[in-house]
């Protein structure tokens, strides 16, 4: 018992009187029971949104990018906003699974699996937008360093857009193997419990024959640690590189050195908000309140508050530097953001991202589930507007006043965005019913140190 000591002032991470077997049963329940009516309703809505998006994508590819609201001045708008938004959301999963692993934060174990799943699903959405924007998505393989048929003309490794290809593909594939390696013991658990032959077959196939030998566990832990060590700089590099799509240009409002850290903070901010949104629903629906406790929600709220403040600080630094630089184009770009025709988007951004998370200073509010849920949605709206503000307001007033214009999305723009949300939710809903949504093997390993019953038992002995 002594090897599992944890200070008694730390709140339990697994609530209730749980044994190892109880954890198995609780995690396997959503997979082994048929979905209820609410799930089917959510699934249908997500499916309709997804199909609507598919229709809009087909229309775009059939008629061309002219079906979007883009024009000669504003050549990037909704698509890239959505791309950056989704990539940002993806970041929380890796942060929770990798950075919190390196810092030995045990509370990550209740939420890492779903956050990583969310990462992968969000990167898939993000990847769709640049590919659709190509207009000829069947030529997407031209982005890879292959000699093309016109001679040995290669891709341009000086271009941040190519860095993006490498960063996003590395991120997607590394996140996927990180996620899947962690899933193996849990999929094996489902496999060994499965009674239906078809289910048994599927879970045998995807659990790769995991058996839990002592040597396998030793390697498993080492691999997880090294992957975390690799994923931590990777996750920071991905959004830094995304920010360089803008920062390496010479557009006022984009050409700023603060972008990489500012984008990374924003990504963690929006990612945690999305994890919060999804998990608050999932813990209720799948009855996982014992594992995703109020303390988990509170800690995520604190991270949202801190990263929100970093983002706020970055906004103000940008304004200050615009003034301090003495560059009048830069000054105009920022003044125009706040007071120009898109002032309302700037206002949304400021209120949602800087003001709203500050209420988390109050303990009563950050431990309220309904407040957490609302703020998480507000933050995601705010972060979408942040990208919109950066992209559209920097472009719509360019160097020639004769080409000044406004951007308005067409229903195709909106349709593809809604479709991507539908696709994301579709994947998440399917995941929630077919994968172990909590890293049960890891939770079992902290049960004795952080389980409520064991903590009480230990306290009563002292």
């Amino acid at each position: 018992m002594s090897s599992h000591y944890e200070a008694s002032i730390r709140k339990p991470l697994v609530e209730g009187d749980k044994s190892y077997h109880d954890i198995t049963v609780d995690i396997a329940r959503p997979i082994e029971t048929p979905p209820n009516k609410d799930w089917w309703i959510a699934f249908s809505i997500a499916l309709i949104a997804f199909l609507w998006g598919v229709g809009c994508v087909i229309y775009t590819i059939g008629t061309g990018i002219g079906s979007w609201g883009l024009n000669k001045t504003v050549g990037w708008a909704w698509d890239i906003t959505n791309f950056v938004w989704w990539v940002g959301i993806a970041h929380a999963g890796t942060l929770i699974s990798a950075v919190l692993l390196l810092f030995r934060q045990k509370w990550r174990m209740g939420i890492n699996r779903s956050a990583e799943a969310m990462t992968i699903f969000a990167v898939i959405q993000a990847g769709l937008f640049p590919i659709i924007h190509m207009g000829r998505p069947w030529l997407a393989y031209w982005m890879f360093p292959l000699p093309n048929q016109f001679g040995s003309l290669w891709v341009n490794f000086n271009s941040p857009l190519l860095w993006d290809i490498f960063a996003i593909s590395t991120y997607l594939t590394v996140s996927l193997v990180f996620w899947w390696t962690g899933l193996l013991p849990d999929l094996a658990m489902i496999r060994d419990r499965a009674v239906k032959p078809f289910q048994k077959k599927i879970y045998s196939l995807i659990s790769f024959g995991w058996t839990g030998r002592a040597k396998d566990w030793q390697r498993f832990e080492e691999v997880s640690l090294v992957l975390a060590g690799l994923a931590t700089p990777l996750v920071l590099s991905v959004h830094s590189i995304v920010s360089m799509d803008f920062a390496t240009s010479v557009i006022p409002g984009w050409h700023t050195t603060i972008f990489p850290p500012y984008f990374v903070a924003g990504a963690i901010f929006s990612g945690f908000a999305m994890v919060q949104t999804l998990l608050i629903i999932m813990r209720k629906v799948s009855r996982l309140e014992s594992y995703i406790t109020l303390q988990h929600i509170e800690l995520m709220n604190i991270i949202i508050m801190i990263t929100g403040s970093i983002v706020g600080c970055a906004y103000i630094t940008e304004l200050f530097i615009a003034w301090y630089s003495g560059v009048e184009y830069e000054q105009f770009a920022f003044l125009n953001r706040a007071t120009g025709p898109y002032w309302w988007a700037y206002f949304f951004m400021m209120t949602c991202n800087v003001v709203s998370p500050q209420i988390m200073w109050v303990k009563k509010l950050r431990t309220s589930i309904i407040v957490s849920f609302i703020i998480s949605i507000v933050v995601n709206i705010g972060m979408w507007f942040e990208r919109f503000v950066i992209i559209v307001t920097s472009l719509h007033r360019d160097y020639l006043p004769s080409s000044w214009t406004m951007f308005s999305p067409t229903f195709i723009d909106i349709g593809i965005f809604i479709g991507s949300i539908g696709f994301f939710l579709l994947l998440f809903l399917l995941y929630a019913r077919s994968f172990p949504v909590i890293a049960q093997a890891e939770v079992k390993s902290i049960l004795k140190s952080s389980g409520e019953n064991y903590k009480k038992l230990r306290d009563s002995h002292e």
Binding site: M1, H21, T170, W210
Partner: protein, 178 residues
């Protein structure tokens, strides 16, 4: 000569670790231990050598870095140098800062994927691999020690019960008939 294998089940990780210590003291041979989650100290209790997979990851990372250097140098400098925004494109070292993101991503890509592949190969994990855990409960809440039985089976059973085993199963070895 020991003729049979024993499958000894435990339901607690601390009891398991103590039992392994006692079994080791008695010099019985443990073939394998199956556990539903990573039990801390299990590898040390069994005397397993530390894994070298992180050293491999470092080597794989170095390979990835080298591949990236060779690739960017060949494509951008040697094979088809281009004047892009007036930036230097005739010397790798001068153009290298623009390749740092690529060098980094390729390093991570190689290190992560090759390490995971090595792990899967060494631990025999791949699709269509049949699971070999002798008892399906070892992925749920039970810990299983697969060990060779001594000469006196009954004495051994009493000893194992004392260490806290929940159940002991005698498995006849296939090679007895051979």
């Amino acid at each position: 000569m020991s003729k049979n294998n024993l499958h000894v089940l435990f339901d607690d990780d601390d009891i398991l670790l103590d039992a392994i210590k006692k079994i080791k003291e008695k010099k019985y041979h443990i073939n394998e231990v199956y556990a539903p989650f990573p039990v801390h100290g299990l590898d040390k209790a069994l005397g397993l050598k530390p894994t070298r997979i992180s050293i491999l990851a470092f080597i794989y990372g170095c390979i990835g870095f080298t591949v990236a250097v060779l690739m960017t140098n060949y494509m951008m400098i040697a094979d088809w140098p281009q004047n892009i925004g007036g930036k230097p494109s005739f010397s790798f070292i001068e153009n290298m800062p623009a390749f740092v993101p690529i060098l980094f991503e390729m390093t991570v890509f190689f290190a992560a994927h090759l390490m995971v592949l090595t792990f899967y190969m060494r631990s025999k994990l791949w699709p269509f691999k049949k699971a070999e855990n002798p008892n399906p409960l070892t992925t749920d809440n039970m810990f299983l020690i697969d060990m060779e039985s001594g000469d006196n089976l009954n004495k051994m059973k009493v000893f194992l019960k004392k260490t806290g085993a929940v159940s002991i199963e005698v498995i006849e070895r296939d090679d007895n008939e051979k």
